[in-house]
Amino acid sequence: MFIARNLRLGLTINKLKIVIVDYGAGNVRSIQNAFFQLDLSKTKLTGNVEDIETADAIVLPGVGAFSHCVSNLRKSGLVPTIEDLIFEKSVPLLGICVGMQLLADSSTENGIHAGLGWINGTVTKINPSPGFNVPHVGWNQVNKLKSDGILSNIEDKSNVYFDHSFAFQCDADYVSGVTFHGTSIIASVEKDNIYGVQFHPEKSGRNGLKILRAFTNRVQNVN
């Protein structure tokens, strides 16, 4: 409550409509709660096409196995609607955790599965090495590679919360942040209006809220 009050004092009322795509992918309510903390009270968790069509920004969550997420998302029939918004109308999109991995061309989790192919790349298992257990779980520092974009509001080497066994691999041009766990792991990607974060901003305390704020600020710049 204390945090919520502080936020409200510092900001003007924001009426952006953020839509969190609900396609049956695990617990995503915490993402909605985080946007409420930012006073974005019009944030909606929905799988309704009409709602998604009128979104100012889209959040693509994802929890669990890649194959399960991608098949659920395809079954929901929402992919063409989202593609139209992000490619034709430049609506910003943020993929979180497996939601980011879905942006890739393919993943090797439980066999090879095709992703959405919105940011060229692949998703592969992190190899455990002595002292670096898998899953990569806990608070790790993000090295910022770009000063603008999704990490613009946090300091370099800020702690954020990760929990994953598979990681994104893509062209360095798209990478905006990396972390280290035995090997370098891509923490965030961006390509035009498409963003992805491997960590959980909704579970990364104040740093996480600042990252979500940077994303919604981007929405205002577009409009």
Partner: protein, 286 residues
């Protein structure tokens, strides 16, 4: 570098927070959501909510309690107790849990089913351990019995790709404040590729220093002691210092606080308090 986590563990018995000693004695503390809120503000890296009465009374987890605890929480929440089926697991996740801890009902089948939906990283495999001489044996908390099964056998029962983390709780150290069971923990973490969470035995910040210094466990879980005084976790973490690679994010100054052997803060001298003045901090706008 991945930081080592300090995880406050909130023990719930019949919907109330309790302090637990030796798995037998339970002192009431208060309401779960209030404990969660304060501990999150005091620098917790994650919260572990363990209902010790659910499995024993064959009750389902209290979903509305989980919901109240998670609604304004911006750090991860792990919930354990009474999760015996995929349906119950789903309800706990829907109520806002990020991970679930499974002890009595742990099986390859259940883990595989839950992992399919939520991913193996969302499952914490919990084992209660009792030391008998040099042996570490599994304890059945529902029957209050030490089994003949060794911890190693229990861990080998389930493929370690089916769960994310392993929670090792030392039953005989519960509430004893004598330090973590370093010997048992280091044996486990050396042979397991998964992150290990140590629970049971924390009394003073030095115990965490010892745990992080002598083993590579991923996290130290603290139970009773953090209810003893305000800002308990921040004070403990400051005591560890940044050398042990922990996450320390605060605008407060805990640095030179005089603490007693239990890590509790002494009152400052009157001379010091008279000299004290307020510092204006730059507003942290989000």
């Amino acid at each position: 570098m991945l930081t080592r986590r300090v995880i406050p563990t909130i023990i719930i018995k019949e919907d109330r927070v309790v302090q637990s000693k030796g798995f037998k004695q339970h002192l009431p503390i208060g309401i779960p959501e209030i404990a969660v809120k304060y501990l999150a503000d005091w620098g917790a890296d994650e919260i572990l909510l363990l209902d010790i009465s659910a499995s024993k009374l064959d009750k389902a987890p209290n979903y509305s309690m989980v919901e109240k605890c998670s609604i304004n929480l911006q750090i991860p929440l792990t919930v354990g107790g009474g999760i015996s089926t995929v349906t119950k697991a789903r309800s706990v996740f829907n109520a806002g849990a990020d991970k679930i801890s499974i002890n009595s009902s742990a099986s390859s089948l259940l883990f595989a089913e839950i992992g399919e939906l939520y991913g193996a990283q969302a499952i914490v495999f919990a084992i209660d351990v009792v030391r008998k001489g040099s042996k570490s044996l599994v304890y059945d908390h529902r029957k209050h019995l030490v089994s003949s099964q060794s911890v190693k056998q229990k861990i080998l029962e389930i493929d370690n790709n089916l769960y994310g983390e392993l929670l090792v709780q030392a039953v005989d150290r519960d509430g004893a404040e004598c330090g973590f069971d370093i010997e048992c923990l280091s044996k486990i973490e050396k042979h397991l590729g998964n992150p290990v969470i140590a629970l049971g035995g924390y009394g003073t910040p030095d115990h965490l220093n010892e745990l992080f210094g002598e083993t590579s466990v991923s996290a130290g879980a603290i139970g009773n002691v953090m209810h003893h005084y305000e800002h308990s976790l921040m004070i403990a973490k400051t005591h560890l210092g940044l050398n042990s690679s922990i996450r320390l994010e605060t605008t407060g100054d805990y640095d030179l606080l005089p603490v007693d052997s239990l890590g509790r803060v002494f009152k400052r001298s009157n001379a010091y308090l008279n000299e004290l003045f307020y510092t204006k901090l730059k507003k942290d706008v989000i």
